[in-house]
């Protein structure tokens, strides 16, 4: 089994450029990273460090200018990567004409399942995603937190080998965010899928991830790597522990935030 010996995702020497006002600019400059089997990896970096570009490349929406993306050890082209991972963005991107169940089912339908079969699967998961009783509501009737839970259900339901999360809590208020983070920790402890999550939130990265990659600002390059060995299962209470504080400090230092310089 290749997945036993190779990491789920391996990104090697990826370079990505884009054009702006006639000038070629680099978004990523020779990036390397891996996501192992059942590993939760966070990607932290300043705006413009090419984090979203990387997720676009890994999901198959974008072909890098050079470098390779390997899934389970096998080099892939962008079109081969489409349909392999589940990609969730900061905006929930729900279809306003579909109910919660219909929206949750659409990922399965996109992959070819019939609507009725897909909706049956989605309906079974409503309770686990805190959406019980809202299956027939339209996105316009739901709160921001509920909408994001629906987007999560849509992302997780097709059971892909890799989850790509691009600031999934970025647009939520602090309370809803804390609530959803706890819920995601619990869900992940059960599922143990391979996750690559982009975030701006230092606490979120330490709380959720096994490993944190820190990127430099444009062009994005790997600045440092922090292995978070907080015990699992994790809970929100850990935020106040000395160990958590140490990781948090280390991450802020790596990001070069003023007041957190190396002594």
């Amino acid at each position: 089994m290749p997945s036993d010996t190779f990491p789920r995702l391996q990104v090697t020497d990826v370079v990505s450029t884009y054009e702006e006002r006639g000038k070629r600019l680099e978004a990523l400059e020779g990036l390397n990273l891996t996501v192992g089997e059942a590993e939760f990896v966070a990607l932290v970096g300043p705006s413009g460090s090419g984090k979203s570009t990387l997720l676009n490349i890994v999901s198959g929406l974008l072909e890098p200018d050079s470098g390779q993306v390997l899934l389970n050890g096998v080099p892939t082209s962008a079109s081969q990567r489409l349909g392999r991972s589940a990609y969730m963005q900061q905006r929930d991107l729900l279809l306003p004409w579909r109910t919660t169940i219909g929206n949750a089912a659409v990922g399965l339908e996109a992959a070819g399942m019939t609507r009725s079969a897909a909706e049956r699967q989605a309906a079974q998961q409503l309770r686990r995603f805190g959406l019980e009783g809202f299956g027939d509501s339209y996105p316009g009737q739901l709160s921001g937190g509920m909408r994001q839970r629906t987007a999560f259900l849509r992302t997780i339901l097709p059971n892909k080998e890799l989850l790509l999360l691009d600031e999934p809590f970025g647009a939520l208020d602090a309370l809803t965010k804390a609530d959803l983070q706890s819920w995601l920790i619990e869900l992940w402890e059960q599922e143990r899928s391979s996750v690559l999550m982009v975030t701006h939130d230092v606490e979120e990265a330490v709380l959720l991830a096994d490993r944190i990659f820190v990127l430099t600002s444009r062009p994005g390059r790997l600045a440092s790597q922090i292995v978070v060995s907080l015990p699992r299962p994790r809970t929100r209470d850990m935020i106040v522990t000395q160990e958590f504080m140490t990781y948090r400090h280390a991450l802020l230092q790596a990001l070069g935030i003023p007041g957190h310089r190396t002594p």
Binding site: S59, G60, L61, L82, G83, S85, A86, Y87, Q89, R91, L93, L95, P96, W97, R98, V106, G107, E109, A110, A111, G112, Y138, P139, G140, Q141, L142, S143, G144, R147, P158, A171
Partner: protein
């Protein structure tokens, strides 16, 4: 608040009603006071009498016009949506056909009507074709623009789920274009009524347009105004009917303004 909503809706109907009542009142009194003869400008009372007394002439002819409008509209609707989808999905058609369709709008339909009459005679067909030609344009344009307004991020998410272009079209692009298609259909149905009457004015054996030309020739002005009123009722009714179909077909639209973060 529900209370405010209901009362504002009642008020919304009341206001135009009052305005029309006032207009009719001033019209009736003005014509009577000035002693204007009915063939020059009939009073609302004359028109109402014509609507009732001439109903055996008016209604069958209104039915002819209605069937022209409906057939022409459905022709415009199916051809318009079909061509809109084709233009959206094919770059070649977009380049080749879309400019021609837009340019075709500068051709006045009045100029085409006699030509269609020569080709297809005095029957129903030339009227249906004129109606369809007039009603076609807003549907094509709104279908194309509606499809183009699809959220590209949503399309990309579907692609990462492994959706083929056909599935992206069925799951995202087509449904997201529907509000715009409905808006086009509403504009279309209103001008389809004008198109059908125009076709009849040029040459016909039946229909409200035909009745109007006859009424003008015979100085039966109350009947002419009665026919105009029937036409406006028809146009308003069809417009409202499409609005009703839209509310039933797109029930989610009433929630769209509530939560947009």
């Amino acid at each position: 608040m529900i209370g405010r909503d209901a009362s504002s809706r009642t008020f919304g109907c009341l206001l135009p009603g009052l305005l029309i009542a006032l207009f009719i009142g001033v019209w009736e009194l003005g014509v009577r006071a000035s002693g204007t003869p009915a063939w020059l400008l009939p009073t609302p009372g004359d028109v109402l009498r014509s609507l009732i007394e001439d109903r055996h002439v008016l209604l069958p002819n209104a039915f002819v016009t209605l069937s022209e409008v409906l057939l022409g509209f459905f022709l415009a609707l199916s051809a318009g949506i079909g061509m809109g989808v084709a233009i959206y999905r094919s770059r070649t058609l977009d380049r080749a056909l879309y400019p021609i369709i837009i340019a075709s709008q500068t051709v006045p339909v009045p100029a085409l009507a006699p030509l269609l009459l020569i080709w297809f005679g005095y029957g129903l067909l030339p009227k249906i074709l004129i109606t369809a030609l007039v009603g076609f344009f807003p549907i094509v344009v709104n279908t194309v623009e509606g499809l183009r307004a699809t959220d590209l991020d949503v399309v990309n998410v579907m692609r990462t789920f492994g959706a083929t272009p056909t599935r992206v079209f069925r799951l995202v692009e087509l449904p997201s274009s529907l509000p715009s298609v409905f808006a086009g259909a509403k504009i279309s149905v209103a001008i389809c009524v004008i198109g059908a009457v125009f076709g009849e004015l040029v040459g016909a054996k039946a229909g409200l347009g035909y009745l109007m030309t006859r009424a003008i020739a015979q100085f039966e002005t109350p009947r002419l105004v009665a026919a105009i009123i029937l036409l406006s009722v028809m146009g308003t009714g069809l417009f409202a009917l499409i609005g009703l179909v839209e509310r039933i077909a797109l029930p989610w639209r009433k929630y769209i303004t509530i939560d947009r973060r």
